[in-house]
Symmetry: C5
Subunit: 276 residues, 5 copies
C-alpha cells in the first residue's frame, strides 16, 4: 500500500441523520371533511409534531413551502436511521397522512468537511516522519478527529436553526470529462472551499447554513439547508456563490425549495388555509 | 480579503415576489356539475381573482394557456413570501380548486441586473482611490443602489402589463465545461448583456419584458415573462435573441407557455368553455 | 447600432397557427358505456370534427396514432391563438373528452425560412449602397417580404395535406459547446439548409413536409409534419437526412409519432375499435 | 447534383412492421373478480392471442416480463401500419384490457443494413463508369436490391423466433460533438459494423437477433430483439459488444426488457399467477 | 479472425439471478381496514416471505427503506429467470399487494469480474504459444474458469448477507466522448479495478459488497448492494471511492436506497407502523 493512500480524501465529521420530507395537501378532499373532524385531525397532527420536535437527541420542524412543489416540508434531525424511519412511520399512522401526497424527500447526515484539519494533521505527521497507514499515524489521526468532533459538537448535534425562512436544495460537485472536482489536487480543492467559505462568511450573520452529506445515502452528494429571517438573502447568497470558482465550475444543483417556518401550534391554522 | 472580492458579481435590484401558477381544468368532472352550481363556483372564483388583483402592493392576473400544458395560468406579484403563500392558500380554499389539476409553477422576484451601474460605480470609486470593502466604499455603493432603486421603482414594483398575450419561460445561463457564463470576465458579460438588450430594445414598443430572478428560489436562474398584443412577436423576438451571442452561446431554456389574458369578469365564461 | 445588426438572422414568413393535440382513449371506461350512448357520443364527436375541419381560415384533421403514445391525434391550423384555444375548448366540452387522456400537444406556426431570399435582398441592397437600419432599407425589405408572402400564400395558409400517413416530430438545432448552429456564419447555415433541401426535394413527390416554427411558442424550435401515402418513406427520408451534415451535426430530435388519417365520418368506427 | 450524392447512406431493406407492446397487470383489481369471470376473460384473451399469432402475413407472441417494468409484452409482426393498429385496437376491445396498465411500446420495421452490398454495388458501377443519379445506375441498383430482398425474404418476413427468452432494447448511434457516427466515412462505418457482426456471429448458434429500424418511426434509431434459450447469453453478448469499438464509442442504449415466452394456451395460467 | 479477438473483454462468472423489488405502502387505505383483517393479511405476507427466504437455491429478504423512495424493498436471489418471475407473481397474488405501490425494481446476476484471472490465463497461454481461438486455448480457458467458479461458489451462490443495513444503487462505467471505460486498454482497467478493490478491502470487515451484473438485463451496468451493521460506513466507503480514479473518472451512479433489515416475523409489526 502506497504511503499516500487516501491522502486526497478530505476527512468528514458526521452528526445527526437528516430527513427533508415534503408533501402536498389534497385540499379538495381535506376540505370535504366536516370541520370538527378536520379540527380533530389537525390537532392530532400538531401534537405529533410537538412530540417529534421534543425529541431529546435531534429535532423536528415544519415549513410551509411555496409553489406547487408542495405544501408542507417536515425537517427531522435524528440519531439513527431507525429513529428517522420511526418518525416517518409515525406520520404515516396519523389520520392527516390520508390527505397528504408525497412530493419529495431527502436523506443526509449533518457533515463538516475537514479540509483544513486534514491537511494540517497530515503535514504535522509528515514533519514528524510519521507515515500514513502506520499504527502511530492512525492513532494520532483518530485522536485529532475526536478532539475536532468535540469542538464541533454544537454544529453536528444541534437543534434546527429557528429562522423564519428555509431554502433547501441538493447539490453535487461536477464530475465532467474536463472539469472533475474529484480529480483536482487536494490543495486546489481546499483553496476553492476556502474561497467559497468566504462568501458564506460574508452572510454568516444573516444565514445559518446546515450541510447534509448524502454520498452513499441519496441521489445527490449534499443536501444544503439555508436558514434566514429574510428570504431575499437566499437569492443574494446563492447568486454570489455562483460566481465563485467552486460554484461556477464545480457546482451542480437540484431543485430549490423555499419555505416559511410554522410552529406546531400553528399547524391547524395552516391546514385551515391561513398563514400567520 | 482581496480588494477585488465580489467585483465580478453584478449587483441586482429586487422588486415584488412573483408566482406563475398553472393548472389544467378537469373538464369532464367540472362539466358533470349542475349548471347553477358551476355558475356559483365560477362566480366565486371570479370574485377571488378580482380581490387578488385589487391587492395594493402587487397584482394578480389570469391567462388562458394554449396546449395541454394547462388551461389557466395565474400570475401574482406580491410584497413578501407570506403574501404569495396566502394567495396560494386562498385559491386552495376555493371550490374551483377541486376541479384544477396542478400543472406547473414558478417562483421568482422581479429583478434588474445592474451591469452598467455596477461597473460605473466601481470605476468612479477606483478613480477616487476608494477600495472595495472599506466603509466609505460600502456606504457610497449603498447610496447609489438606493438612488437606482428609487429610479426603477415603477419597474420593480409595478402592475402586471396589460397586454393581451403572455409568453413565459424559465431560463439559465450555461455553465458548461468549455462555455461558462459565470467564469467570463465581468466586462465580457456586460458586453453580451448590452448586445442582448439591443434586441430587446428593437421590440420595446411591442413587447414588455418582466424578468424574474430565481437563483436560490426555484430551479432555473430566471423566469422571463413577455407581454405583447401580437403573439407572433414572441416568436420573432426569441428567434432573434437566439442568434445573439448571449443567447446562442449561454442561453438554456425551459418550457415555453403561451397564454391569452382573461379578465376576472370573463373567468365564468372561460370556465363554460368560451373565450372572448 | 452597427450596420450589420441582425444580418445573421434569417427572415421567416409565418402562416397559420398549428396545434398537434394527442390523446389516449380510456377504452375500458368507454366500452363500459351502453352502445347507444357510445354511438351518440361518437356521432357528436364526428360532427365536432366535421365543423372544425370546415373552418374557413384553417383546417382540422384526425389521425389514429400507433403505439401507446396515444390513440387520436387532432391537427388544427387556425388564424389566431384565440381560434386555436377555441377549438381546444370546444373539444373539452364534448362528452367524448371524458374518455380521453391527454398524451401530448405541440404549438407552432407554419413557417418558411427565407435563407435564400434574405441573402439575395441583402446583397442587392448592399450593391446599391443601401444600409441596414436606414428607412430605405427597411421599406425595401418589407416590400420584398410582402411579395414573397403572396407567392408563398398557398404553403403558409393552405389545407392539411390529404395523404394517408403522418409522421410528426419536434426538433431543434444543436447549441452545443463545440457545435452550435446559431454561431455558424449565415453563409454556412444557408449551405447546410440547401443540402438538406436537396434530400427533401428527392422525396418531394412522395412526401409533403409542413414545418411549424415554435421558437418562443413551445419547447423545441420546430414541429415537423411529414405527410405521405407510404409510411416507409418516412423512414427512408429521415434516415437519409440523418447523414446530411445539417442533420448529422446540428439536428436534435424529440419523440416521433406515426399516424393514419381518419376522416370525420370514420371516427365512430374507429371509436368502436375498427380501422378502415 | 454532385456525383457522390447519397453515397454515404447505407441502403436498407425493410420487412414487417414490428410492435413491442408492454403492460403491467393490475393484479389487485384483477384478483377481485370472481374466478369464473376471470377464467372467461383469460380464455378470451388466449383466443385473441391465438388468432393474432395465426396471422398469415406476420406473427404475434407473448412474453412474461421480469421486474416492475411490466408483466406482459406482446410482440407483433405485421405487413402494414393498418394491420399493426388493428391488432392494437383489437386488444383494447378485450375485457382483459380493463386490467392492463400501459407500460411501454415500440414501433419499428425489421431491417437489414446493407453496408456490404451497398459498397459492392457502388464499386462495381464505378468500375463500369456508371454514375450515381444516372438512369442506368438507378435501374441497376434497384435490380440488385430486389435480388437481395428475395435472398433475405426469410429474415425480413419470417416468424418470431421460438426461443424461450427475449431481451429487447432500443438503441441509437451516438451523434456527439466529437464522436458522431453519421459523419464517419462510409468505409469506417462498414468496418465497425463488420467487427460488431463478428461478435454477433460468435453467438449466432445461441442467439437470434432481430433488428427493427425505427428512424422516423419511434424515439430511438433501432429496436433490437435478442432471442435465446439461455438468458445468461444476453448478458454475455451485450457485455462483449460493449467492448467492441462500434458499441464502445457509438452505442447509446435505452431500457432493457427481459422476458420469458408464454404460449397463447398458457396465458390463463399466467394470469392466475403461475408460470410454467 | 485476429488472434487478439476478445482479449480486451474481462471474463465474468455469474451466480444467482437477483431482484431488488421496491414498494411504497398505501398507508391510508391499509389503515382503513379493520385491524383483524390487517393482522390476517400481514401474517399471510410474513408467511410468504418466510417461505421465499427458505428457498433452497437462493434467498429472500426484506428491508424497510428510508425516505419517500419506498417503504419495503424485497431482495431475492434465485437460480433462474423463471424462479424470479415466480416469486414476483406469488407476491402479486398476496392480499397485501393490493396495498403496495410499485416504486422501483432492478434485475441483475451476482457477478465476479475476473480481471486478474483473465490476464493471468492469457499470459500463461501466450507463454506456452497457445493462441486464442484454438481448441486448446478454449479448452484450457474453460477449465480454468470452471476451477475459479468452484472456488467462488460461496460468493456466487450464497445467502443474502445478514447485516442490519443495506445500501443499494445501480451504476455504469462512463462511455463519454473523451473518457470511455470501454476503450481503455485492458491493463489500465485492471489497474483501476485493483485500486478500487483496495478501497473496498479497507472496509471489508465492516461491509459486504454484492455486485450484480446487469448489462443486457436492466438499464445500468451493475446493481451494487452494500451490507453493513453501521449505515455511516456506506457514506464513508462511497465517499472514499469517489476520489479513487475508477470512481472519479468512470463511475456514473443511479439512485441510492438505504434500508434496514426486517425479519419475516417482524413484518406484521412494521406494517402496523412500528420498527424494532
Amino acid at each position: 500500500m502506497a504511503d499516500t493512500y487516501g491522502l486526497d480524501v478530505p476527512q468528514t465529521l458526521e452528526g445527526w441523520y437528516v430527513l427533508h420530507d415534503i408533501y402536498a395537501v389534497d385540499w379538495p378532499v381535506w376540505r370535504s371533511l366536516e370541520e370538527p373532524r378536520r379540527d380533530e385531525i389537525a390537532a392530532d397532527a400538531a401534537r405529533w409534531l410537538t412530540i417529534a420536535a421534543g425529541c431529546e437527541k435531534g429535532d423536528s420542524a415544519l415549513y410551509s413551502i411555496l409553489t406547487q412543489k408542495g405544501d408542507l416540508m417536515f425537517l427531522h434531525y435524528r440519531e439513527t436511521p431507525e429513529e428517522l424511519k420511526r418518525v416517518e412511520l409515525s406520520l404515516r399512522q396519523m389520520d392527516l397522512f390520508g390527505f397528504l401526497v408525497p412530493a419529495g424527500s431527502y436523506l443526509s447526515m449533518i457533515e463538516l468537511g475537514l479540509y483544513e484539519l486534514t491537511t494540517i494533521v497530515w503535514k504535522r505527521l509528515a514533519d514528524q516522519g510519521v507515515h500514513p497507514g502506520s499504527d502511530e499515524y492512525e492513532e494520532y489521526f483518530e485522536t485529532e478527529m475526536g478532539k475536532e468532533k468535540r469542538r464541533a459538537e454544537a454544529r453536528l448535534f444541534g437543534k434546527i436553526p429557528e429562522h423564519r425562512y428555509i431554502c433547501f436544495y441538493p447539490m453535487s460537485r461536477r464530475r465532467g470529462e474536463q472539469l472533475n472536482w474529484y480529480t483536482l489536487p487536494m490543495e486546489d480543492r481546499r483553496e476553492l472551499m476556502r474561497s467559497q467559505g468566504r462568501v458564506a462568511h460574508k452572510y454568516h450573520e444573516q444565514v445559518t447554513q446546515v450541510v447534509g452529506g448524502s454520498i452513499g445515502l441519496d441521489d445527490w452528494e449534499w443536501g444544503v439547508s439555508l436558514h434566514a429571517d429574510d428570504a431575499l438573502v437566499f437569492k443574494k447568497l446563492v447568486h454570489e456563490m455562483r460566481f465563485d470558482a467552486a460554484g461556477a465550475l464545480y457546482g451542480e444543483f437540484g431543485p430549490f425549495y423555499t419555505g416559511i417556518r410554522v410552529q406546531p401550534g400553528q399547524m391547524p391554522e395552516l391546514l385551515s388555509g391561513a398563514l400567520k
